[in-house]
């Protein structure tokens, strides 16, 4: 093993470009799946609130499946399994458009939606029933009550859990390397193979992940504080 030399890694434009592309892909996968997960979580929450027994049972099965099957297995089922069932034309189109990344975003997004919708639901359930009654008594429609009275409070209550799950979504984006997405962890392995500076490249990548995760946690604390002061008025 070579002596510790961070400069040999950081001053090499080729390695920096590889790590940079990896980090960019990590952000694409993480942000893409976060958006998918959050929108789907609201859809799932709405279905649960309709009170239709069958629809509710379907959502419960969806959530139970995604919470009890390992994320890596869900990724493999999508990329190796479900992909093979798609029509040939679609498979070809996906092959031309970075199929790995698309399946990673879909699998991670669908998986995290289950967690997000549970967070939102428990946020909503922890609000006293008087809030809904007061909102209706003040003349709000159901939508208006949700939009102006219940959801702002529910989001505030759910914030710590949502932030935790956002961090784990960001960390789970590294699993995409197992199906061949060239994100940060994958790029690290490539740089390691070319530079043999294992320690340095792991150190740099670990710090990148750590900084991003801590930034998400810090943003969550700030948002939570803002939510609390807003609630106090």
């Amino acid at each position: 093993m070579k002596g510790f030399d961070l400069a040999a890694l950081l001053l090499n434009p080729q390695f920096i470009a590889m790590l940079g592309h990896g980090l960019a892909m990590t952000f694409v996968v993480a942000i893409g799946s976060w958006l998918l997960a959050m929108s789907l979580a609201f859809v799932l929450l709405t279905i649960r609130l309709t009170g239709n027994r069958i629809a509710e049972a379907c959502v419960a099965v969806y959530i139970s499946y995604h919470r009890n099957v390992p994320t890596l297995v869900q990724l493999m089922l999508w990329y190796f399994g479900i992909a093979s069932l798609l029509p040939d034309a679609l498979q070809e189109w996906l092959g031309d458009h970075n199929a790995e990344a698309i399946f990673a975003i879909v699998a991670l997004g669908l998986c995290q939606a289950a967690y997000f919708s549970e967070d939102l639901r428990s946020g909503l359930r922890s609000i006293g029933s008087g809030q809904a009654e007061a909102a209706r008594a003040l003349g709000h429609s159901y939508i208006g009550m949700m939009r102006f009275v219940l959801m702002p409070q529910a989001l505030g209550n759910a914030m710590p859990a949502l932030i935790n799950h956002t961090v784990s979504l960001f960390k789970n984006s590294s699993l995409a390397m197992a199906i061949g997405v060239v994100e940060l962890t994958h790029a690290v392995r490539e740089v390691e193979n070319e530079s043999f500076r294992t320690f340095e490249v792991y150190l740099v990548a670990t710090l990148m992940y750590l900084l991003c995760s801590l930034a998400i946690m810090a943003a969550g604390t700030l948002l939570g504080r803002r939510g609390q002061t807003a609630g106090a008025h």
């Binding site: 093993m1 139970s64 499946y65 919470r67 009890n68 099957v69 390992p70 994320t71 890596l72 297995v73 869900q74 493999m76 089922l77 190796f80 399994g81 479900i82 093979s84 069932l85 961090v167 960390k171 789970n172 984006s173 590294s174 699993l175 390397m177 197992a178 962890t185 690290v188 392995r189 294992t198 320690f199 792991y202 990548a205 670990t206 992940y209 750590l210 995760s213 801590l214 946690m217």
Partner: protein, 242 residues
């Protein structure tokens, strides 16, 4: 499709269950279970130590424990696996099998998460417990050992069980460093069959689902029964009436 899946299970159930044992290393579901049971069992003492260090008044204990927890929480498990995978042989000077690497990683990773559970459990107890134990003449460590920890850990049993489920799910990542476990076995089958990836991975997903779902249900049941017991004698007749 269902018939295909049944045939695959019939042909490969032994590989899925115990891997290539006795002709090779123990693998499959058995290895997954052994890894996760050992992982959580060894992570537990570590987590209690880390939790106590985080709650201690000595900064020399508090700071490294906090750094460990935040460090592990902020880095993907996959990165930690690669760290252990390459640091271990370097430090020990011998090559280490994948399952030992995975076990060490799991102990570190789950230990950090579990320490947050233990810490929350200790902090959730009313402060009067510690005050009373100290007033009775217990030292801090004896109060922790005989009064605080037994109560906190009983209350935390459901969360510890949930952490066990997470550990089972995390063992799948051993696949990346070729640890022979259930996901690895499924990939072996898939590589041999080549034409039925959906069936193979569906079987894999359903196996994990059955295992983790039953444990999650058990955790929920435990949580309810602990809540009932803690509610005290007022609810006792209700339980008997059922």
């Amino acid at each position: 499709m269902l018939a295909n899946a049944v045939t695959i299970v019939q042909d490969n159930w032994l590989l899925l269950l115990i891997g290539q044992y006795p002709n090779g290393p123990l693998g499959g579901l058995a290895a997954t279970l052994i890894l996760s049971v050992l992982g959580i069992a060894l992570a537990f003492p570590l987590s209690v130590l880390v939790a106590l260090a985080r709650l201690s008044h000595w900064r020399a204990l508090q700071l490294p424990a906090t750094a460990l927890v935040y460090g592990v929480r902020g880095v993907p498990l996959l990165m930690i696996i690669f760290w252990v995978y390459f640091m271990f042989p370097l430090l020990l000077g011998v090559s280490v099998p994948g399952s030992a690497t995975m076990l060490c990683t799991l102990v570190l990773y789950e230990g950090a998460f579990l320490s947050e559970v233990v810490r929350a459990g200790i902090q959730a107890l009313p402060p009067g417990q510690m005050d009373a134990a100290r007033a009775l003449g217990h030292s801090y460590s004896r109060a922790m050992r005989f009064v605080i920890l037994p109560q906190a850990l009983t209350n935390m049993l459901p969360s510890i069980l949930s952490q066990f489920v997470s550990t089972i799910k995390d063992t799948t990542l051993g696949y990346v460093i070729n640890v022979p476990e259930l996901t690895f076995a499924a990939n072996q089958i898939n590589n041999r069959l080549l034409t039925k990836p959906f069936e193979v991975f569906l079987i894999l997903a359903l196996t994990y689902y059955a295992l983790c779902f039953s444990l999650t249900q058990l955790a929920a049941w435990l949580e309810r029964s602990i809540a009932t017991r803690r509610a005290g004698p007022v609810t006792q007749p209700l339980v008997v009436a059922q």
